[in-house]
Amino acid sequence: MNHFMLGIGFGLVTAAIVVLSTVALSLQFSVTRTINFAHGELMTVGAYAGYLVAQHTSNLLPQALAAVAAGAALGWILNWGLLRPFTRRGASKLVLFVLTVATALIVQNLLQIGFGGSYVNYHYSVGTAYHVGPFLWTSLNIVTMAVAAVILISLHLMISRSRFGKAQRAVADDLMLARTTGIAAERIISLTWVLDGGIAGLAGMFLALQVGTFTPTLGFSYLLVIFSAAIVGGIGRMYGAMVGSLVIGIVMEVSANYINPSYKETMAFLILVVVLLFRPQGIVPALSEG
């Protein structure tokens, strides 16, 4: 039982990292309707940016800002430089998907040239571990979960209260109608990609800190875990994404107690396959919020 509760505790930390990346993916998908296979690379560049800044300062804040900036920059480039020339000409979804797969490969290999293919060490002084109820968490774990909570609440407020969020919802509902009513749809989409990249970059930094050492394939190896969480929750639904991340994070960490821990990502894929086969709309009932 004790192992089980500890597993749930680690699962919550994993879920916090997964949920950041997944809400970013879901938000981007609901607004742009493009499945982004380079989403993992948004995380990877965030991890490397944080790692670079960590060579100069041990303060987490500048590292986090660098991770956000790097992810946001890649998100912007991905939309503006790559996808937009195609969407303007009405390219099919499959073509856009292939573009993002190619981008993932290109970014991985650019990082490989820049940093080499071997593991880099990226640590944060973890401090002592705290017993919180039945859970055992380091200060980094607690910071990770707190940041995830703050970002989720801000995203919720942004989408439900702000003008930008309203415009995003309009574009997500009906692009043509949004344009007709005078919403600068291109700008909303562009900003969504920037927001997506920024949050994913931050998630990538936390993921890298969590695993301690990483290579240019960090984000890609986590991509399908993110997809699993997004699809389990119902892709494109932000609140579903939160539930999906909790399910995936906890299943991954709890299963690591009982089976070979290197199979924990495989567990996530299994859940994804089963959900796609039997409930492709996700396990969370559709809410009108979209």
Binding site: I35, F37, L82, P85, F86, A91, K93, L94, V95, F97, V98, L99, V101, A102, T103, A104, L105, I106, Q108, N109, L110, Q112, I113, G116, G117, F220, L224, F227, I231, N260, S262, Y263, E265, T266, F269, L270, L272, V273, L276, L277, P280
Partner: protein, 335 residues
């Protein structure tokens, strides 16, 4: 000269792999991210069929299943069947009722699951260490020297490429190939004309997996070893890029594109370390250029260098011509 023989052999095998990708991506319009898994299954399959029973010792720690000690050619056939069967299983799940982009996600999941099982369970095919210790196929009969044998294997791969090309051309022109392209162009219309979309797609998918496994088996018999580090599932994009550059669904174009993207570009980028101080830049640069190739082609010349040929059904044209005089007579009498 030995250099060109090496490049030629790998080039011929890569061209076979591209022809296999062309079935799902060119003919049927699916993105199959599990393709490299079938290549690996073919490679591993050929090795465990050809090798004798595993005897893990300190010097050869590799342990693996089967070890049937079959001759070369039956092993090739067996490995191809393994690949086709694996593709049939994955395809049966992925193609059932999923949209194009979900198919890609499911196949990627399948490939990653297979990678993690094959690399972490070292009883199956040697885990991270992989399998090695194959002897040069057929050389126990031929008894050729290293140079002579390399020419022989190049010839063998070229013959295999020709064989795959001819078989696929035949299938492409068959009613099955035609139905498949109809599904790609407009699946609803094809379904309305009584085509079973699922069965068509599944058969194409299994065929692609079999061709991939055949190429993988040839590759393993060339390298005489195989390990999980030999493949990265994303690199199927480079094969797709070769297909795209040469001309989607045009087998001759696919071979040309394969030579450009997967033989010439990697060989040219091999020279990059001479220009810079970075010694590892070559392979990465080749991947970057190859992956950019697919983006550029999709943007500016989606048809590729050689466009897909319009297949004319001669039997029907002939019968139309035969009946046309009466038709014109009928039209005249009506007009």
């Amino acid at each position: 000269m030995a250099y060109f023989v090496t490049v030629g052999t790998i080039g011929a095998i890569t061209a076979i792999l591209c022809l296999g990708v062309n079935i799902s991506w060119g003919w049927a319009g699916q993105i199959d991210l599990a393709y490299y898994a079938y290549v690996a299954i073919g490679a591993y399959g050929a090795m465990v069929l050809e090798l004798p029973k595993a005897h893990p010792t300190a010097t050869t720690p590799s342990s693996y299943v089967l070890g049937l000690h079959w001759p070369f050619l039956p092993s090739l056939v067996g490995a191809t069947a393994f690949g086709g069967a694996a593709a049939l299983i994955v395809g049966a799940i992925a193609l059932r009722r999923l949209r194009g982009d979900y198919i890609a996600i499911i196949t990627a999941c399948a490939a990653l699951m297979l990678t993690s099982v094959l690399s972490q369970d070292d009883r199956l095919v040697g885990g991270y260490i992989g399998i090695y210790g194959l002897t040069q196929p057929l050389n126990s009969v031929l008894k050729l020297g290293p140079t002579g044998y390399s020419y022989f294997y190049l010839g063998l791969c070229l013959v295999a490429l020709l064989l795959v090309y001819l078989v696929l051309e035949r299938i492409y022109r068959s009613p099955f190939g035609r139905s498949l392209r109809a599904v790609r162009e407009n699946d609803l219309a094809a379904a309305a004309f009584g085509r079973n979309l699922y069965s068509l797609r599944l058969r194409a998918y299994a065929l692609g997996g079999a061709v991939g496994a055949f190429g993988g088996a040839l590759f393993a018999n060339y390298l005489l070893a195989w390990s999980p580090t030999a493949w990265n599932i994303l690199e199927v994009v480079l094969l797709m890029s070769g297909v795209m550059v040469g001309g989607r669904a045009n087998s001759r174009g696919v071979i040309i594109g394969s030579v450009i993207v997967l033989s010439i570009i990697p060989e040219v980028t091999r020279l990059f370390p001479l220009l810079t101080s970075n010694s590892t830049i070559g392979p990465s640069a080749a991947v970057i250029i190859g992956a950019s190739g697919i983006i550029v082609m999709l943007r500016f010349r989606p048809g590729g260098i050689l466009k897909e040929r319009k297949v004319v059904d001669h039997s029907q044209t002939a019968s139309l011509n035969a009946t046309s005089p009466t038709l014109t007579v009928a039209e005249r009498s009506n007009g």
